[in-house]
Subunit: 436 residues, 2 copies
């Protein structure tokens, strides 16, 4: 008895059962449709790479979480922990076979040995999309509009993409001689959504005095409209400041395209990563303010500097699919594809096997998802199975019906029987009942 | 200069560039449509599992190829090397939340540290589909017909699914007192396609004498029709032999459903794995006989005995996507989805950004894949990019056209210009030209 192995998974890893998996695939299909409309192309990269590639010049917090080991050839290898680093390596390796500007999307698993006590998973799916090879307002706008179109396509009722520019705050602090405290100030601002303006003011005052704290807080607080926030930023910044010009060009385009309701200029958005150099953005669901950003990103001026001397400026965003799926479920717009067939053909007599399978084939040709119950078990057992799976229709054909060339279609939702149907009539009636 | 890291991938691992990746996704989408029509449901399992789960009671050839290491918590973990073992663990863990019969498909990466000198990859995608919870001719037939429908959907012109029954040969040898040489005989038969009947006869004669060799060879050689081969097998086997009965029931169904041209009863098919207990099958492409089977599988009487005492008989098949993709390419039926947009909107003036993006949005709403060139570079540069990517149509709108509210659509395939189009006329003309 002791030789059974407990069928457990590793902590932080999960099986995806049909309902969840169909929901995930439905979301990915919808996003794929958006990416295709915007002419983004798919790529993939290996799950496993040389550790030196993935860890680059790193050594930070992320590195400790990376799954890293020696392979059969004693090579130092690691599982990818995001899709950005492999993309940088990919572009460095292939830029001359490809073309610029290059727009790719990548939906794939990544692995991080995170602390699972914080509810984090160690295997999760990321969806990244980037436009590489251009530093322009048009490129920035394109990523923003892909984000907007994605959330529309997913049926998310109310969302807002918050946008700022990484260098904007820098310019503001420079003009006030505060630039050497750039990072600690940024870290405090980053907590604004969490701890509120009062607490932020206090922490800023401690760092750089009450007057500066007031100015900083004024600068990062949104006005009643994006135009006003932009104007105020303009009044606080040196004239002709390039980050502000970029933002103004973006906002012109956002407004002209009738998309203003989906965006907010929010100077409090800072993004933690040093990596970003231009516009930065985060997406908040108005009905679920507490879950944080579900799609974030920004502009970087050099994607692949670790692997090539070729300058590759770009802009991109990343969706954490697991957090997004949880949010869609909570909002009641999760798109769980149906996992049950439309029609179950009951297997009443082994001798009629080809009758059942021929009928199944003809119903499938009519576009229906069809299952033949695989064994001649008791009628009650087969019907109970249909009920458990919520299959709407069942086809009944025993020796008696078969002798007369007829089928019975049973609507299991209301237990109504449609008897004496020909093979052709069966497909027609099934399609009609499913539409009703 | 020395601080650039060479952007290489591990040997046996590959990047998937847009063309290849779009082709792969197109194949997966087609197969997904088939699986849905047959009411198979999708699942996923972790890439990483406890080594004891994946290696089970093993210790064979496969085990040496498994990527196995100690994780952060010093757990003995491994990357999955196929989709069958994780599925067995999955069923043992979830059978009581699910239902039986259970039909799943799973398309995912697996990893094996194979010898790359034989042209093998160390990371590849498998596509598995199984029906678990029934031991019946109907279940066997369903897997066979999913295979047939899959290759039809992929547009493969000529293929043949070879079918036998694992116990058939056993019965034949038992009746002749040769059953203790079962495995070595099987191994010789397995080489029939490779080394031919003459060489097989010689090796068999050495093992069990010329008379037995002749009988065995007669048994495994296909007649001119499946019916004749079945009849001859019947004459050489004990009456009422269950494997033959199962095959006869299957063939009745195959013929009644008009599918005989896609199948062949082939007693020479043996499948190497001890695992199979019933029908076994391999799929050969008639135009590429040398590449071997592109979809194989069979019936097993106990999927998950390592992890549960619950009996789970089933039948399933597996497609090696990489070999299949290579075959589709060679056959000229590779379904590379388009990776280029339908329309490129040239960016001639930064001041017209919203004109371009509004037009892009309206063309996308008309169902077209549209790209706005992201920078106001020289016209020649933008057109060269369009040519490199084989983009069929370009929209031209400079300040002059804009003043009159008009667009020019250029068909880059024949260099013909369609001038003076309104915004609405543009979408209409573009759609018409793309259809032509």
């Amino acid at each position: 008895m002791s030789d059974i192995i407990e069928p457990r998974t590793l902590r932080g890893f999960r099986d995806s059962l049909p309902q969840a998996e169909a929901g995930r695939l439905a979301v990915q299909e919808k996003l794929t449709r958006v990416f295709r409309r915007f002419a983004f192309v798919p790529i993939d990269t290996p799950a496993l790479e040389y550790a030196e590639i993935l860890l680059g010049k790193g050594g930070g917090e992320t590195d400790k979480q990376v799954y890293r080991f020696r392979d059969h050839g004693e090579r130092d290898v690691a599982l990818r922990f995001d899709l950005t680093v492999p993309f940088a390596r990919f572009m460095a390796a292939h830029v001359h076979e490809l073309y610029l500007p290059f727009k790719r999307y990548h939906m794939a698993k990544v692995w991080r040995g995170e602390n699972t006590q914080r509810g984090r998973y160690r295997e999760f799916i990321q969806i990244d999309f980037d436009l590489v090879g251009a530093d322009s307002a048009s490129a920035d706008f394109e990523i923003l509009t892909v984000m907007q179109a994605s959330f529309r396509e997913l049926g998310v009722p109310r969302f807002r993409i918050h946008v700022s520019h990484r260098a904007l705050f820098n310019e503001f602090l420079s003009a006030r001689g505060l630039v050497e405290r750039y990072l600690p100030i940024l870290r405090i601002i980053d907590k604004l959504r969490k701890i509120g303006p009062g607490e932020v003011r206090g922490q800023l005052a401690e760092l750089c005095g009450a007057a500066a704290a007031g100015q900083i807080l004024e600068f990062v607080t949104a006005e009643s409209s994006d135009r006003l926030t932009l104007d105020r930023a303009g009044s606080l910044l040196p004239p002709g400041c390039p980050p502000l010009q970029r933002l103004r060009a973006l906002w012109q385009c956002i407004e002209d395209c009738g998309l203003a309701e989906y965006f907010r200029f929010d100077p409090a958005i800072t993004r933690g990563l040093d990596y970003y150099t231009g516009v930065i953005f985060e997406t908040f669901l108005s009905d679920l303010p507490d879950i944080g950003s579900v799609c974030s990103g920004g502009r970087y001026n050099d994607l692949a500097s670790l692997y090539t001397r070729e300058k590759l400026p770009g802009v991109g965003a990343s969706i954490g699919l697991d957090r997004l799926m949880a949010a869609l479920e909570e909002l009641g717009v999760a798109a769980g594809g149906p996992t049950a067939p439309d029609v179950l053909i009951l297997l009443l007599d082994e001798g009629l096997l080809s009758v059942y399978h021929r009928q199944a084939a003809s119903l499938r040709e009519a576009g229906l998802a069809v299952e033949v119950y695989p064994e001649a078990r008791k009628l009650a057992v087969q019907l109970k199975y249909a009920e458990k799976r919520a299959i709407p229709l069942a086809v009944i054909c025993g020796l008696e019906e078969q002798a007369r060339g007829l089928f019975t279609l049973k609507d299991l939702r209301n237990r109504r029987s449609h008897e004496g149907l020909s093979a052709a009539g069966l497909a027609e009636t099934a399609a009609r009942l499913l539409r009703s």
